[in-house]
């Protein structure tokens, strides 16, 4: 929880690792690591997954995440303390954050925070109610200033309860009465549901093929086919006065090599010439009916072929 100011009792690794080393968590981690060119980049999302699983981030979970992302444990520790949304200590079931920044401040956030402190009976600097239901924290801008003063419960914005659900209707700001309604809603939910259902903190992670090519290659050249060179566009052929054929085109990158390819009839294309990308036209002898196309190549990377033009009489 934001910045932790006191020593927190840490659970032993043997209590934590069985919860993290489950197929569900591991498949998420695998997907996350695959999305970046280096595993280190997955550190933030993997810490999120650990927090989702455990409810907070004990030090052994940070060490576990470091191992998954191949970074040193102290790196993961330092990073996790830098970001305020990683909870360094357990919180109540409903983690209530009330914005105190400028937009909410001028609309009376202090009054609401004072009201919340009074009704919940805890400090707004991270106090947790005795029943373990609420942790109250005053925070800086939550990014919903149009509804200010605004409140977030766990990961959801809320300024009111509408139709039995937490909601932030447009233009509706938090008031002490609405806060009481929200608190009542939470208590009711706690009475109905014994455990708060786990929420995907990465917002619906879905399986992808990850970062194709260039894996782990931050300082290595790009692999062929990872991101092909831009293609040649608008290839056109015209006869010049002396009977030769002049090809013109657009869009060839100056750094690329252009491969002119021709074919007669229906065979395969064969290479005719290779010219530098800074050339913007080409003139030569081509027989009538020959089909021409151009491939741009940048380093090892080949673009898709240009349009095919047929040499007319």
């Amino acid at each position: 929880m934001s910045h932790c100011h006191t020593k927190v009792d840490q659970p032993h690794a043997s209590e934590i690792l069985p919860k993290l080393e489950t197929p569900r968590v591991l498949s998420k981690v695998e997907e996350l690591v695959r999305r970046y060119p280096v595993p280190k980049a997955a550190l933030l999302p993997v810490l999120w997954v650990a927090q989702e699983t455990l409810g907070w981030l004990p030090q052994e979970a940070i060490r576990w995440a470091a191992g998954k992302c191949k970074v040193s444990p102290v790196h993961a520790y330092g990073v996790s303390l830098f970001y305020t949304m990683y909870k360094k200590e357990p919180t109540g079931r409903f983690f209530v954050q009330i914005c105190q920044n400028v937009s909410c401040h001028i609309l009376g956030a202090e009054g609401i925070i004072a009201h919340a402190e009074k009704t919940l009976g805890v400090s707004s600097h991270g106090g947790t109610t005795e029943d373990g239901l609420f942790t109250l924290l005053r925070v800086e801008c939550l990014g919903a200033c149009g509804n200010g003063p605004v409140l977030q419960i766990n990961d959801d914005f809320a300024t009111d309860v509408v139709d039995g659900r937490l909601a932030m209707p447009e233009g509706v700001a938090l008031t002490p009465e609405r806060f009481d309604r929200i608190a009542a809603w939470c208590r009711k939910r706690a009475a109905e549901l014994p455990v708060e259902p786990s929420r995907d903190v990465l917002g619906g992670l879905f399986e992808t093929h990850g970062h194709p090519g260039a894996v782990g290659s931050t300082n290595e050249p790009q692999k062929p086919g990872y991101a092909p060179a831009p293609p040649v566009l608008g290839l056109a052929a015209a006869r010049t006065e002396d009977g030769k054929v002049k090809l013109t085109w657009r869009a060839a990158p100056e750094s690329a090599q252009l491969h002119l390819e021709t074919r007669a009839g229906t065979g395969d294309f064969s290479a005719l010439a290779t010219i530098p990308g800074k050339d913007k036209d080409w003139t030569g002898d081509l027989s009538v009916g020959t089909e021409v196309r151009i491939l741009a190549q940048s380093g090892e990377r080949r673009a898709k072929p240009s349009n095919v033009v047929k040499v007319e009489a």
Partner: protein, 434 residues
Amino acid sequence: MATLTVTQNFGKGAADISVYRSLGGYASLGPRLFDLSQFELIDLVTRSGLRGRGGAGFPTGMKWSFVPRNTPKPVYLVVNADEGEPGTFKDHVLMLEDPHRLIEGMIACGWALGVRTAYIYVRGEFLKAIETLNAALKQAYEAGILGENILGSGYSLDIYVHRGAGAYICGEETALINSLEGYKGQPRLKPPFPAVSGAWASPTCVNNVETLMALPWILEHGPAAYSALGTPKSGGTKVFSVSGDVKRPGVYEIPLGTPLLEFLESPEWCQGVLGTLKGVIPGGSSSPVLTAEESAKANMDYESLASLKSMLGSGAVIAFNDTRSAVGMLASLTRFYAHESCGQCTPCREGTGYADRILKAIVRGEGRDGDLDTMLDLAANFSYTTICPLAIADAWPIENFIGKFRSEFDALLASNAGHADSRVTSDFRPGAFW
């Protein structure tokens, strides 16, 4: 009704791909985009006058032109959706309402720069927006709009969402890149700039959500139509997020150059100020505050606000009336910047906290004569000596709130009986921390 280029799908359920398509979405993913060469597309964006909508207002076409063409390394596109500036919530709403427009804009930007893999760095608090984006991305993948060979064009692009974890500074582009790479979000020394060496030491383009979402409209209607919407120097429209003492706070898209008071009073937009206007913060918490008189002269474009020594910034308009204490507002701002300083370089790390503690003492009634001058001096000293502009973003509110509402601060100082005590350092009680 003004022309809308970004928010036209609001309230229409465009987060679903079929709705978005029925509203003309993804129409650019054909000859309109893929028959443009990289140069032509960058040139088109340059001619549209589109400027970065994240805060700095850097011309987008020029930013793209800095990305090298012949690099052997991959080029990355990173969307800056780490919207953390107090008062700003436009990107939040944009992502919730129209995520597919962002995807379409990213494909256009990706095509212009030869990007294969792109990331959307979303502020950690916006879980709902992340869910919306992920659902939209999934739909786009299923429709063949993302992944290998987009709609048969030969162009391939992958987009991933990266959830931030609570750090305002990650809105700075190099800090955002560090955060994406799995480090603390601390800004990097420049040069090299991200366009040359950004994420994983590869060329990287970092663009704001709103900037990219303007691209589909520009592709459809042409650059001239876009730039014609604004003023000659500030082309197009801009999405503003309005909060504070207005009757209808919210997100509004208006043509650049609209007079500020007209915007606040218009029945179409904010519907007027609650109470008597005392001042306006026109472009996010760090932009210098305007008094009511200055607000009357201000137009909402880059040049007009610059002439008033303020800035358009991220387009977060915070209006406040004469019942609000300038001291309290400044106190909440200095507390914010002290809380969000990344702690990397000295003047900002120590200076923002120092200024905040002085102001806290003043608010507690323990201020003394000269404290305001000390704060102004500190603010001047931590501006322009740091790696990134966060310290300046703290200095501007300090200088402008104290400069423009000084009598309120002086009144609070005078309430301290010992306000005239000299500050003799030898009086200090010695202790481990002294």
